[in-house]
Structures are given as structure tokens and as C-alpha cells.
Symmetry: C2
């Protein structure tokens, strides 16, 4: 797919990114504002999540209902979520309609009404959403894994904590908005059937006079790690496993990624064939790389029946450690093909590309082309992968289990 | 997006469908074999699901490991699932690799080894997967809703029933394969960067001499419907609601769909604004059309805290019934834009298109272009929608709840 990129940082610090994609009618937008869960005020975990709902309840000249109706009248498929680093707004539609929505997204992040009634509803929904996780142990184990494995405040639960959400005030939400929603550090990325000249003009007009604000660095507290169990009456046990890895900007990044792909890529991955296919121990098992700024990890999950839980944990750890004995040429070839195929498929989706270029810029300060990614994958040799795996044996595991009985730590 | 379609039914009854998509490197394949959950042998619910795993454990000249390795060496992103009507195999990758995989997919459906050890593992995984649903009440309520709402055997749980899976034999799986895996009624659909001439030759060669077998019609038993409750200790209550609708081939299909879009499309949909945004009753609520051959339904879900469950059910039913009072011009306009936008976005994904043309052919006997779908949506008038809604008041509800306390039926 032919590519063409655009990058321009406005005077106020907002970075505009564009990728022109041929053969598509649509465009997709990703707007990252540096107000993620890690930046929630102290003892007010979940503020960003409540705020990400509240900013949509009226902004600029439109009240809540008018705003929702207007965005739907453009046919936008849209989402708002909160991650560790950013509050994220995204949408996709026919390209002209995504362009037309930009001034309204500027209203949403710059001029939200933050009304009292909307605050009550948004906080109630955040509390309900949090409570619903009790019925979803598969999600719950990953939330807890992040809490124990990531350095604070990266590991904070972006959904919030019950007592802190109950004490949250509209006033604090307003302060948080004033303090964290600013253009410096924000990224606006569009991919699809777009014209860079028009895009630049529209963005300058809608976001150009958004005033910058001081950035406050986050200091990280090392994670507790270790082995944790939460009792839960069920026939199933859910296991989360994490260990530290290198950052995405590290020169060995693709060397490491290809090792993990041998472990858990496709259906020929070792976890799948050893734990699921051969031994029938689990119905669901995976491991994957997780990228935070300044902190890379491998996160893994297995869900299984209680009687197979200890064997599953033991086998999972054994497979992780067996990686240091190296992989075969055939395994590496499949891993390369799998990673490149995923890159190509992702390159055909405007939504995936707008998210990817925004992530690329945040982590690396620039956009990478798909050809550059493919070349980086191809450049890795078997010797490099096996040397990396030998010298970087998985260790310092954080393990979280949810089920009726604790398991023995490996 | 320019379109170009190909359709050819082989002498043995297999229908080959193609859609050429510009600007993409990839292709996606969907293969539907008429061996869905509704066709599982009597008292052997889940046979199709076990078989859909088992056919991948060695086929043609390759044993289980060789088969998995080979498909992964093509970089295929692949899936196998079982629906009501079909066992479905799908994959996506660079177009040449999808083409190259076709003879192997022919091996999988025509010449699987069905080995005894593989059978044990596949059945164990099916049992584990079924047991895991006990930890997923949100999924469980929809499975039960289908069981009570669809006519038998459409409502059978494709995942299987515990006692029937425990009694399932390899012999029965082999019989089921011999009886149900045949080309007549099967559909092979490819979308993406494909050449129709080459596709036709490859498919004739790989599938042309697959012998047809007798088709056995399914007789439907009317569904029990009604109101059901399953006790489950939790702070959450999960509600499933269903009622009969028209078939997808009915002339009023888009008229009906636009009414449901007003109810539950986008964030301005009535369910979302009335139940979630205004009243803060639920964290998750939706309703949508479900298409089976000869049987259309509306299925809906709401998940909420126990103290709000009765109010949520009452409001959900009230909103369904309020539809018969009609919708506004503005609501209909947004609904049209939303449905068309979804159609356009879907038109840019090779995977979505290969699935859609296969579904189209199964339901309608032909492929529709995206322009035809958009024109059908545009042709619907406000008068038509409101007349339809007035004359087709939702009734004969099936309602399933999972939570600590039963609710009052409306």
C-alpha cells in the first residue's frame, strides 16, 4: 500500500500526524490527550475515566443531547477510552465527515460544559462498570496483574477504585480537566482519504489557539511484583503472569518480539501447542508484549479448570524458561511471516493506522512506514534471537491467580 | 470503493464467490460448510464444535503439527467457529498466500485424519470452554436467550451440553463428518486482491471432485419463549430480551432495521440515551437484529446492579414498546447515516467482505454490492418506518435473567 505521511507540531505543542491511504473512502482519527490513568490525582483513581464520559455531555455551543446527535449525524463510529498515559478519543467514517467533526472534537477537549447532573450519571456508570468486573474474573486478573506488575502510578486501575470514585467531586474533575487537558504532549492522528493541506488548516483553526500548560513529570515507584491470590468460588482458575522486558525503542525490540511470537504467535506458537493442543490443559492461553513509555513487559494469561491450574502454571513458566534454550530456524521464519502479515493487515484499516501512527509518535517521536517495520523484522537473524533469549531469561515474575484455591509459586 | 463480483456454483453444488477490492494487498477467505450447531446429531450437542477443532489435527498428507506449522508459515490469520447453520473456516493474509492455502483447506474439510488422541484433546477443550461460561454470565445469558427464544434446533448451544459432550465418541464425530461435510450447500467466498480466473481454476482443482451428499432438511419446533431466571450470586444482574421479527429477505427489512437503529444505533440511540445516559441505570445495553435462515429476531442485553435491575427491565420493555409511536425525521436521518457508514467501513475490510458476501449468498442466493445496500437504506421513508413500527409492535418476548433474585415479568 503506497504511503504518504505528514507531521507538524503546532506552536502550542499539539502534534498533528497524517497518513494518506489509497483506495479508501474513509478516514479515522485518534486524539491522545496526556490525561491517562497514571495521571489521575492522588487518591482519586478513576478521575480520567469519569472525565472521559463527562466531556461528551455538552461542549461548545451544544448541550449533551445536541452533541451526541450531531456526532451521530456524521455517521461517526466513535470511542472514548482511558489508557495509562492518555485519554483517547477516536472516530472513523467517510473522510469528509471525520474532517467536519474536528472543530467539535476541539470543543470536547477544550470547552466541555462538565455539568453537575452529567457528573452524577458519569460517576454512577463508572462505579457500575467497576462492579461489573466482579463477574468477569478473566478481566479482573489482568487488572490485578497490572496493579502488581507495573511501577506505580502506571499500574493504577484506570477504571477507578470504589471508595475513591464514591468520594470523587465535580470540582476535582473540573480541576483535573484544567490541569491535564492541554495541547503540549497531545497527539492528533488521521489516516485515510485525507488532504494534508486542508487537514493542517482545519487543525490550526480548531486547535491552534489552545493554550499550553505546564507538564508535570511522573515519578515511578518500583512495582511490588511477587505472587498474589484472590479467592473466588468457581470451577475455573484464572492465571496472570508478567515479567519485565525491554522498551519499544531498544535496538533489540524486534529480536525480542520475534522470540515472543515463537512463544505465542499463531496456532503453532509454543504455548498453544504445548499447553492447549498437546496437553489439553487450558481453553485459553496467550502471552504478549506490552509497551508503556519507559517500561516494557511481557503479560500472559491462562484460564483453566481448578484441577489443571497448578499444571498449567507450571507448564506456562517452564515454556517461558525454555525460550532461553533458543528457537529453531523454522519457528523464526513463521514468526517473521506472522508479524509481517499482521502489519500488512493492519495497514489496510484506517482505524488501526491512525492508532498506530499516534502510538509510534508517542513512543518514538516519529511515524514509521510499514516498509520500515517489515525491513526491521526481516533484518533479525536466528543468531540474534537466540543470543537475546539466552541472555534475557525471563525472571522477576509477577503472578496473580483468581480461583477457589491458591497455587504453589514456581 | 469499486467492486467487481464473481459467482460460480460447481457441478457438485459448492458455490464460489469472489469480490475484487482495489487498493489492498490482502485477501480473506470464508468457507461455510453446512454443519452448524442446528445440525448436530440428536443428543450429541456440540459435535460440530468438537469436529471443527478435530479437522485441524491432521489432514491430507500432513499430521497435526505439520498442518498447523504450514498454515502459520503462510502468515494466515485464521479462525474456525461453529454457528447455527454452518461450520465456518476463515483466514486472511497477503492474497497470494490465501490462494496458496486453498488446497490445504480442501484437505481439512475433505480429508481430515480425525485421530483418537486429537479427539480426546478436542473434547476436553470443548468441555473446558463450556465450563468457563459459568464465569461469564454476560455470555451465558445470551446462550440461554437463544435456547429459549429460537425454534429448536436453532437454539441449541453450539458449544455443547456437558453430559452429551462427555458421552460423545470419535465414531460419532467421524459419522457426522461423513454426513455433513459436503459441497452442496457449502459456500467459499474470497474478497481482496484476487484474480477470478486463477481463483476459479484453483477451486475447481481442489474442490471440484468433492462428492455431493444428500441434504437433510431441518424441521423447526416452535420455541418455548417466556420468562426464565437463573440464580447466580453476584452484585450484578444480566438481562436478555428477545422477540420475533421479519426475515432478512422481507421487503420491509431495511425499514425494520432503521427502526432498530433508532433504538440502539450509535450513542444517540434511545436505549443508550434513555437507559444509560439519562437514568444511569446500566453500564451496558444494546439491541440488534439477528438473522437466521427463515427466522429473524431482535435480541437485546442489559447488565446492571441488582438494585437497578427491575427498573432496567421495565425501561427496556417500555422503550421497545414506545417504538410503535414512531420515530422523528432527525432520528431516521441519523439511523440512515449510521447504517451507511457501517456499510462503507465494512467495505474496506477484506475479512468483513468475505464474510458478508458468503452470508448474502446463503440468505439471498446472490451477492449485493455496497451501492445496492446504500440505495436500499436511502429508499426508506419516514412514513414507511412509522407505519411498520405501528403495525409491528414488539410482543411475544422471551426474557432470561441471571442474578441473585428473579425479576417481575413486564
Amino acid at each position: 500500500m503506497p504511503e504518504c505521511h505528514y507531521q507538524h507540531t503546532l506552536a502550542n505543542g499539539l502534534t498533528l500526524l497524517g497518513e494518506k491511504m489509497s483506495g479508501v473512502e474513509s478516514a479515522a482519527m485518534t486524539l491522545l490527550v496526556p490525561a491517562g490513568g497514571a495521571l489521575d490525582p492522588p487518591k482519586a483513581t478513576g478521575t480520567g475515566t469519569v472525565l472521559s464520559d463527562l466531556i461528551l455531555r455538552g461542549a461548545g455551543q451544544r448541550d449533551s443531547r445536541q452533541l451526541t446527535d450531531y456526532l451521530d449525524s456524521l455517521g461517526l463510529q466513535r470511542a472514548s477510552t482511558v489508557g495509562v498515559h492518555h485519554s483517547r478519543l477516536s472516530c472513523a467514517a467517510v473522510a469528509a465527515n471525520v474532517m467536519q467533526s474536528l472543530p467539535t472534537y476541539a470543543d470536547i477537549v477544550r470547552r466541555p460544559h462538565l455539568p453537575p447532573a452529567g457528573f452524577q450519571a458519569a460517576r454512577d456508570l463508572a462505579l457500575q462498570s467497576l462492579a461489573s468486573i466482579d463477574d468477569e474474573p478473566r478481566q479482573k486478573v489482568l487488572i490485578q496483574l497490572r496493579q502488581w506488575h507495573f511501577p506505580w502510578p502506571f499500574g493504577r486501575n484506570v477504571m477507578g477504585e470504589k471508595d475513591e470514585l464514591e468520594r470523587l467531586s465535580l470540582e476535582l474533575c473540573r480541576q483535573h480537566h484544567a490541569r491535564r487537558f492541554h495541547p503540549n504532549g497531545a497527539i492528533l492522528a488521521l489516516a485515510g482519504n485525507i488532504d494534508f493541506g486542508q487537514l493542517d488548516r482545519e487543525v490550526e483553526q480548531a486547535f491552534g489557539d489552545w493554550p499550553a500548560a505546564p507538564e508535570e513529570p511522573v515519578s515511578l515507584v518500583p512495582p511490588p511484583g511477587d505472587f498474589h491470590h484472590e479467592p473466588h468460588e468457581s470451577e475455573q482458575t484464572h492465571i496472570g503472569i508478567a515479567y519485565p522486558s525491554i522498551e519499544e525503542t531498544h535496538p533489540d525490540y524486534y529480536t525480542m518480539r520475534l522470540g515472543i511470537e515463537v512463544l505465542s504467535g499463531g496456532m503453532s506458537g509454543r504455548l498453544f501447542t504445548e499447553i492447549r493442543e498437546k496437553r489439553g490443559l487450558v481453553y485459553n492461553v496467550w502471552a504478549g508484549y506490552n509497551s508503556l513509555k519507559g517500561y516494557g513487559s511481557i503479560l500472559g494469561y491462562a484460564g483453566t479448570s481448578n484441577d489443571r491450574a497448578q499444571a498449567t502454571l507450571d507448564t506456562f513458566i517452564a515454556e517461558l524458561q525454555r525460550l532461553s534454550d533458543g528457537v529453531t530456524e523454522a519457528e523464526l521464519d513463521r514468526a517473521k511471516i506472522g508479524l509481517k502479515a499482521a502489519t500488512i493487515m493492519q495497514g489496510e484499516s484506517t482505524s488501526a493506522r491512525s492508532g498506530s501512527i499516534a502510538h509510534d509518535y508517542f513512543i518514538r517521536g516519529r511515524i514509521r512506514t510499514l516498509d520500515e517495520i517489515k525491513a526491521a523484522i526481516d533484518a533479525v537473524s536466528l543468531e540474534q534471537v537466540n543470543a537475546y533469549l539466552k541472555n534475557n531469561r525471563p525472571e522477576k515474575f509477577t503472578i496473580v491467580t483468581i480461583g477457589p484455591k491458591p497455587l504453589k509459586a514456581p
